[in-house]
Amino acid sequence: MKARPQFGHSFRSALLLPAVLCLLGGGVTGCDADAPVAKRVVYVNFGHDRAKAAFAKLRKALEEEGVTRRYSLSVEHVTLDSFDPQEVRTLFSHQVASHPDVLVAPSSFMAIEARAVTREVPIIFASRPDPVDAGLMRSLDERDTNLAGLTLYLPVDWKRLELLRESVPAARRVGIVVDHYWLGESVAQRYLAESAAAFGIRWVVVEVNEQRDLGKITAAAPGVDAWLVTKTIAAGEFPERLVKVLEATRKPALYPETRFAEMGGYMSYDAVIDDPFRVFARQIGLVLAGVPPARIPVVRPKRFELVVNTAAARGFGVKLDRHLIARADRVL
């Protein structure tokens, strides 16, 4: 009895290969034979400058990946005005009605609303939290979905706390900057409880959902020995203000992304996707080539980066451990 199908005969994915080869090499005979087919990609995001910059990067990545060349591509930035789930869903409903070839939802909450209105239009998403935990997917290798994309999530908060503790061994009261999304994650409470026990610390949880909440950091600072910043709204929406407020407390802070250290933050540890827009572009290209989103794996970070800002350390009067410096991927 044949246990498995013959390779090359009944290989279901044989049809996929030419499309993949087209995208990878662009040199497969027949890939460029026909006139460009009109395709439409709708990118939904807020209208602020960072969103515009992200959109520009996406367009550039589409050009660099050759997607723009292969199709007569229309990439539209549809702006979102509100976090209100109903409004977001309505916006996606309108977009789905216009029959785009691909919807791009660059955050998990957008992707959830997009997914709620269509199971047909491919959705390329980006998710800071775990897509499974956020309810976006049943599993990362789900085979029946119109979702593909990337997630920045890896459970590195344990490693961050370890690094912070090794950097500031005397810290017993650690302030953790979160938002309501982070707190809503199923693993959050478990993490707070288990990590506190494991490292012998007490958490001071500061929820910052908007800029006016930054005052909570200042208010909590006297009772905090060091800060741990998670990937939250504050980190995404107003990072400069966040760094400024935290550094003003004169307490060492470990940030979730390298750019915070580059802004003057004390230290950062991050799981990195080197160029998420190129990932987006490749996945959009596959979808436009006819590859079902379910057959495109969700991309996660595979590189980790520890950055130490010695100047900031000197400012706090912290003497950095030489082993920590040796471990750092970058020392500023």
């Binding site: 044949k2 246990a3 498995r4 199908p5 013959q6 390779f7 090359g8 005969h9 290989f11 994915s13 044989a14 996929l16 290969l17 993949v20 080869l21 990878l24 090499g25 040199g27 497969v28 005979t29 599993s139 990362l140 290798d141 890896l154 459970p155 590195v156 344990w158 490693k159 706390l161 370890e162 288990e194 990590s195 494991a198 490292f199 799981a271 590859v291 057959r295 495109i296 794996p297 969700v298 996660r300 595979k302 590189r303 980790f304 082993h323 040796a326 471990r327 991927d329």
Partner: protein, 749 residues
Amino acid sequence: MIFRRYFGWFALVTAALWVPATAVEVWMAYRDGVSSIGAVQSAEAKAARRLIEDHLHGIERQVRDVSSLPWRSGALTEEDRRREFQRLLKVVPAIHEIHRWDAEGRETLYVSRVWKDRVNEPAAGSPPPMLPVGTASTYGDVSFRDGLEPFVSIVLGESDAPGAGTVGVLVDLKFVADYIASLRVGKQGVAYLTDRAGTIIAHPDTDLMLRRQSIAEAPQFQALSGATEQDDGLRALYVASTKGGRYVSARNLEPTGWHVFVEQPSAEVFEPVREALMRGVAIFVLGLLVAFGASLWIARRLAGPILDVKRGAERIAHGDLAARIDVKTGDEVQALAEEFNRMAAQLQDYTFGLERKVLEKTVELQNALKLAHEAMKARALFVAAASHDLRQPLYAISILADTMALENLPPGSAAALTKQREAIGILQTLFDNLLDLSRFDAGEVRLNVRVNSLHEVLMPLVSEYEFLCSAKGLAWGSEIAEVAVRSDPELVRRLVGNLLSNAVRYTRQGGVGLRARVEGAEVEIVVSDSGVGIAPEDQARVFDEFVQVGNPERNRDEGVGLGLSIVRRIAELLGARLTLESTVGKGTQIGFRIPLAEGVAAGPAAAPEREPPSRARLWGLRVWIVEDDRVVRGALALQLATLGVRHAFATRRHELEALHHRDGAWPDAVVVDDMLGPHESGLDIALWLRACMEPERIVVVTGNSDPHRLRALDGTGVRVLRKPVAAGDLVLWFRTLGARSSQAGVPAG
């Protein structure tokens, strides 16, 4: 023909050169393709194998380097080992986490990129499970973390020394997968990696990898499994499939037991073969084009002059005798062309001579025709002059004879006068017939076909010839159908009249008859007599001029032999066929047919009332005569005086005006001769008089037989009498006018 022959030869030569050359090239390209694909794919597979093995061996070496440090010397702690492992994580990104177990299998150290490190503490959190401890490098099965990323665990024994621990490394194979996916073999070739069981670990199509697709049953994997160690893998195995075959090579990886495959579609492998073939075809087509051009050039060079000669000969054959063949080859073809040119020149001269002669003859004929026309014109002028000049004295004689007949003459004189009047009648008949023949021959008589009652046409003849037969002691019989006919009534009457005249003339006893019966859509008119008859040998010529059968002495009492000639001409004009049946001594029947007029009823025509000439009712009638001929004037004056008619003569209009001025009134009748001289014609005077008096009281007497002139006179509405006018006719007209004058209260006399 020449072109086809040369082209055929050139094409044959081209094909003879091309076919072997292309076959050799294609065969060599095929051989190169087959032999090179194995080498190329093997080289690619070897390179991939070397890189993957170096990658994994490098990890092993790094771990062994750390393990080989003097950990058991007491100078180094587990914390130091942790730091070394952390350094490893930094320098080897593919290492995801490291475990260390002591000789008893207890975990002493755990270093992770994600989770909290553990040093001599029980496991916390949720670290991934590790394989059992081994004594050397052992590779575990490939696992997929969260179903996405392939990982493999490598377990290494620290050393062979007693109490040595074991180190486990979890390696992220994404780096290997990325490398495999980036490999290019030709344009469409791919490389992929499987584990020892044939499950795909890395493939450009990540879906195959994520679904743990197995190729264990695929031919290439089966062939690889059957290869010996010396084979070191698989070399360019052809694998057929519905989407076209492909060539697959493979290499085994040590110590993992994995396999790296490199495959390429056969279509791409043999692309050089196809290109060689296409190149050969292109060269062949080019050769054919060259052959075509060369054949065309040679054919034109050779056949061109011959074709020029052919075309020139065709032009000459089609009548273009001015055509010349211009060939300057200096050979036999040019000589042939010159011969053609000479022949064409001779033909042209001959033809021009003929044409010139035809032209000359044509001119001569045209001149002769012109002379004939002029002769006809002269003859017409002569006939017109004769009509006038001969009729005038005959007219006068006739008037005088008629005048004398009105007197009571002694019996001898009366008999002489009768003979004289008969002679005058014969002369008039002869004269009329001659003029008629002349008019028929000149084509001046035209048909005037209309619908008429047959009675109206024939009854005047019935009255006339009944009277003549009675006078000659002959019996008369007539039968006229009461029908309408479509024909020229005047010509029919002339035809029948001539036949009757002829019958009466040649019948001395017995009788003459006229019968007109309907026969189908026609009426057959037959004149019969019991006369002398016509012998069969003479029947064919009785209709010729001046032929009188049975009158060799040419007695003028029996006519002049023109009546039947006129009958023949009238019958021809009417389109009627004459029939003649005659028996010598018994009589003759001559008939013809005319068509009936469909749908038209015709009643019997009243026979004209004949009234003998008498002087009654003419006394006092006032008549003016416009006549310039002195002899005729004298004869008329005598006749009118005898009749008791008051008359006056004039020759011009102003004389009539003078008469009118003298009498103070217009006369009862005016008789105008048509031909009055150069100043004004009788027609002019009649038209003028018509404005002064009733047209019915004007009569124009003419001897002109010109049809145009006669039609012009008829168009005036006045009465027209042809010369010579019988005294009876004139008296009859006068009497009619006299009666009208009486009825109108005009005093007669």
